[in-house]
């Protein structure tokens, strides 16, 4: 009973994995209301007749005593209970299993719905020497573009408040907001001085897949997130690049925080041959489920593949790169990935608070746990480690991409050489 119910909701909530600041939280179907008591009781350990503490009774004992006796100020019972719950969850030593009080839960839900609402502009990752933030790319026809924001504009104030001294992340939080609301940017533009631009935030549909043909017929495809359209767009990009004579492919997953598990499996199926394992999902109770490639989706084989990853490639990005690595379907270049192999489910509670619980974990097809923990750094290790320094960033250099292209050139040359040799010997 429990099992069948779980299998109904788990796939749905595996959808989005939560990753620190990178991605939004998971919204799972309501769990609170289901669960018959009897079923739950059977899973509880019986209260031992020895000297083991019963958590509920012990918490309550401490709560009562503190409220009766503590000389200093005490919070109300509910706040203290929230603290006790946080302490309870802390014992799991899992940074992702956490309690959200009603305010935090509300904020999370708003954050989720507002994720793609903003001004539609890409910002440079490092503030300028003045502390301004440079717009590297307004999305074509996005709200910022329409309001007249241009590449190279330097944001100095948001809604009249200076952003000097803030990090880019902090500034982004001020700029983002719900659709329909307005934000006032003060920008400094070369040769034109200071300008104020009001922008109404809108749902922004940014391209999750971008692609281009590099020198030497090497295709480049970057994936920003694993959403519903990701697989289709990847397919379209690859087919178009193939049509132009692509001889090798760079798949860029740097900064990709993850997304839908199914999208990761579909995209893995583009690069990994039929019926190979993509990911092993382990649920509570230890049950393992190996998810395999979909043979009808396979596109690769005719050309070599290099995958770019870095420390901010997480979750679904790690499933994909881990699967490609384990199946030797491509070379991984960059830095070790984030190390998030856990799935959280948000369990709403009756008083408006919620609990984010790690309900499953991923292993790579070879059974490797990529999750970062006290015991291990985790993450998918690149076959070829390459870093980008700040200096290289400022000079718009991309040594990771450069290495990927070099690798592909060599591989293409090797394959072509091999093919020539093969045909020679056949004669």
């Amino acid at each position: 009973m429990t099992q069948s119910r779980r299998s109904n909701w788990l796939p749905a909530c595996l959808a989005v994995a939560v990753l620190g600041s990178f991605a939004a939280g998971v919204m799972a179907p309501e769990l609170g209301a289901q669960g018959g008591i009897a079923e739950i009781v059977s899973k509880l350990r019986p209260r031992s007749s020895g000297h083991e503490l019963d958590p509920v009774q012990t918490y309550n004992f401490a709560l009562r005593n503190v409220q009766d006796k503590f000389f200093g100020e005490v919070q109300n019972e509910r706040r203290m209970t929230y603290t006790a719950i946080r302490g309870l969850l802390n014992t799991l030593d899992d940074p992702y299993t956490r309690f959200l009080d009603p305010e935090e839960y509300r904020a999370l839900r708003e954050e989720n719905t507002g994720e793609f609402e903003g001004i539609g502009a890409q910002l440079e990752g490092i503030p300028t020497k003045e502390g301004y933030i440079r717009i590297s790319k307004p999305l074509p026809k996005g709200p910022a573009d329409k309001a007249g924001v241009r590449r190279g504009d330097l944001i100095s104030k948001v809604d009249g408040q200076s952003i000097v001294g803030l990090t880019v992340d902090q500034a982004v939080k001020k700029i983002r907001g719900r659709a329909g609301t307005a934000v006032r940017l003060t920008v400094v533009r070369k040769g034109e001085g200071t300008k104020e631009i009001a922008i109404v935030r809108q749902p922004v549909e940014y391209e999750v897949v971008e692609y281009a043909m590099k020198e030497g017929n090497i295709g480049y495809v970057s994936l920003a997130q694993f959403n519903e359209l990701a697989d289709v767009k990847i397919e379209r990009a690859i087919r178009e690049l193939e049509g132009k004579g692509m001889k090798g492919l760079v798949l860029d997953l740097r900064g990709n925080p993850g997304g839908l598990l199914d999208a990761a499996i579909d995209i893995a199926s583009r690069f990994i041959p039929a019926d190979k394992g993509v990911v092993i999902i382990v649920e509570a109770g230890g049950e393992r489920d190996m998810r395999k490639t979909n043979p009808r989706k396979y596109l690769a084989g005719k050309w070599p593949l290099v995958v770019l990853v870095n420390r901010t490639s997480a979750s679904a990005s790690e499933i994909l790169s881990g699967a490609i690595k384990d199946n030797k379907a491509g070379t991984i270049v960059g830095t070790t990935t984030f190390g998030k192999g856990l799935v959280q489910t948000v369990v709403p509670l009756e008083d408006g608070s919620a609990c984010m619980i790690t309900t499953a974990k991923y292993l790579t097809p070879s059974g490797k746990d990529i999750n970062r923990s006290r015991e291990q750094r985790g993450g998918v290790e690149p076959d070829e480690p390459v870093e980008i320094t700040e200096q290289e960033f400022l000079k718009s250099q991309d040594p990771q991409l450069k290495r990927a292209i070099e690798d592909l050139r060599k591989e293409i040359a090797r394959r072509e050489g091999g093919a020539r040799n093969a045909s020679t010997s056949a004669r």
């Binding site: 019963d54 958590p55 503590f70 203290m80 020497k129 190279g152 960033f393």
Partner: protein, 527 residues
């Protein structure tokens, strides 16, 4: 000296002290007068056991107990890994609740600590042989706020300008104000014990054990993760390749580099830290053997390293010697329930041997049971006041209550008297010193006292662990709050303090009978 320290003194309490090794503490009512126990559901206001259904309520009216029960139930169902044992879950909850109260001495005690306390009450002092407490201690960089709460877990982290300070999940509201880092502090040193042999002094702050910094709290992986997220290295995504505008090279930013370096060091420090609860357990006698301690002493801080050999020390809590034909030296190292009888025996011996005058020596006496101390006061003062206790009534209003001496059958009225104290005199020993001085005009000789004016109750749980709750503030009979301040002495003495105390012997003035004051009655136990 201590008065000038920027410390959060609310701590100095003996219960936790005793925990350490030397002696058990103040208001050990929980321990000595019948331990309160978390056993059984009687104590739980009828809350059902886990195996039965939770009381129902819904929406915002849901009872907090049900909420807790519900979370536990959902964890048991859905959490991917096996849950820790019930004991760990229960203690984790209690620990969080007590920590949130932001009183270093309202805290969880391991079974080893509770055991050490109980053996100390029997005169067997385990581990370090010093009474320790946890106090918030600032650094010498006075104006810099150093925080140890999880909301800003890195000393120094606040000064990092270039990184986002993320609000961690377990930041409880309202955020406790920062008053320095929880630090193990020596209250008093058992003469002849390991700490004494290693040269530890009252007021010493123990910052490292075996070279590892003692982190003020349990270092959870969540906390380490927060450090990584807020301060760790981040990858730069390459710029848009189509954007060929050169970027300004930021000028060198030594401030940022310094902050980042400090943050990196701090992160490493936290990662490799010894956790405070574990360090306490070691010092309380969890493991005998040699340990290197790093000590900070005085202000400005002097840092030194000492090696202590932990072990069990038997000590006479009460010792009585004749200084000369007329003068007796009565030393009391702690107040445990056996002390009144031992003191009574000693005083009767003195009386038989013609001793007329008395030096009451309370040096390195970190206190202990209030009842024991007021029984000793009764022998010397008869019916008199002993202390003023400030506590909460049933409506959580702060009320004051005067505690009287416990005048038993043994009385000793010295021809002249002086009281010897030092930095290690704390808690109920300070109350006794103040009660004698304030009501008989005898002199306090030695050095200013520690300043522990709080009372804790110990509650022991089913599995042997326990927790303490600070339940009262203590004041001298004159209504002087000495917590964090200590008592000043009338005759400062260094070197041969005992001789100075003999020289300072004064005939006590008569004590007005406390019973003459209406409406004030001694109580054995407040509840």
């Amino acid at each position: 000296m201590r008065q000038n320290e920027q410390v959060w003194w609310a701590s100095a309490t003996v219960i936790s002290l005793g925990a350490f090794s030397f002696f058990a503490g103040f208001g050990l009512r929980g321990l000595f007068d019948g331990v309160r126990s978390g056993r059984g559901s009687d104590a739980i206001n009828g809350y059902p056991k886990l195996a039965s259904a939770a009381p129902k309520g819904s929406g915002p009216n849901l009872s907090p107990q049900t909420l807790y029960w519900d979370v536990l139930k959902k964890l048991q169902l859905y959490y991917v890994e096996p849950l820790p044992a019930h004991d760990a879950l229960a203690l984790g909850s209690v620990d969080a609740m007590l920590n949130q109260l932001d009183d270093p001495n309202t805290r969880l005690l391991s079974k080893a600590e509770v055991d050490a306390m109980q053996s100390a009450a029997r005169g067997e002092f385990r581990g370090l042989g010093a009474v320790l407490t946890i106090m918030r201690q600032s650094t010498d960089k006075g104006e810099e706020v150093v925080v140890d709460s999880p909301s800003s877990p890195l000393p120094g982290a606040k000064r990092v300008p270039s990184r986002t300070q993320r609000k961690p999940a377990d930041d409880d509201k309202p955020a406790p104000p920062a008053r320095g880092v929880r630090t193990i502090t020596v209250v008093s040193v058992l003469p002849g014990g390991p700490a004494d042999k290693a040269g530890l002094l009252a007021g010493d702050r123990i910052t490292h054990i075996d070279g590892r910094w003692i982190a003020p709290t349990h270092v959870s992986y969540r906390l380490l993760t927060q450090l990584t997220e807020s301060l760790g290295p981040q990858d730069l995504r390459p710029r848009d390749p189509n954007d060929t505008d050169p970027l300004d090279v930021p000028p060198p930013n030594p401030e940022r580099d310094r902050a980042r370096k400090e943050a990196d060091e701090a992160r490493l420090r936290w990662k490799n830290a010894a956790e405070l609860p574990v360090a306490i357990q070691t010092l309380a006698g969890g493991q005998n053997g040699d340990h290197e301690l790093t000590i900070e002493r005085g202000r400005p801080t002097k840092t030194l390293k000492v090696t202590v050999t932990l072990g069990s020390t038997k000590a006479d809590v009460v010792s009585a010697k004749k200084v000369n034909d007329k003068v007796g030296h009565l030393r009391i190292l702690a107040f445990n329930p056996d002390v009144p009888q031992q003191v009574a025996d000693a005083l009767q011996d003195f009386q038989k041997n013609g001793v007329k005058s008395l030096v009451v020596d309370l040096r390195e006496n970190a206190g202990g049971s209030i009842d024991a101390a007021r029984a000793v006061a009764g022998m010397l003062l008869g019916n008199a006041k002993f202390a003023i206790v400030r506590e909460r009534d049933a409506a959580r209003k702060i009320v004051e209550r005067t505690v009287l001496t416990d005048s038993g059958s043994v009385h000793f009225t010295p021809a002249s008297l002086s009281v010897l104290v030092d930095h290690g005199t704390a808690g109920s020993a300070e109350l006794l010193a103040a009660a004698l001085r304030d009501q008989t005009n005898v002199k306090l000789v030695g050095a200013g006292t520690f300043g522990d004016g709080t009372e804790q109750e110990l509650l022991v749980l089913d599995n042997g662990a326990g927790f303490t709750i600070t339940r009262a503030q203590l004041q001298t009979v004159k209504g002087v709050a000495f917590d964090r301040k200590g008592l000043k002495v009338d005759v400062p003495a260094e070197g041969d303090a005992l001789q100075a105390a003999v020289n300072a012997l004064t005939a006590p003035t008569a004590v007005r009978s406390a019973n003459a004051e209406p409406g004030v009655f001694p109580k054995k136990d407040s509840k």
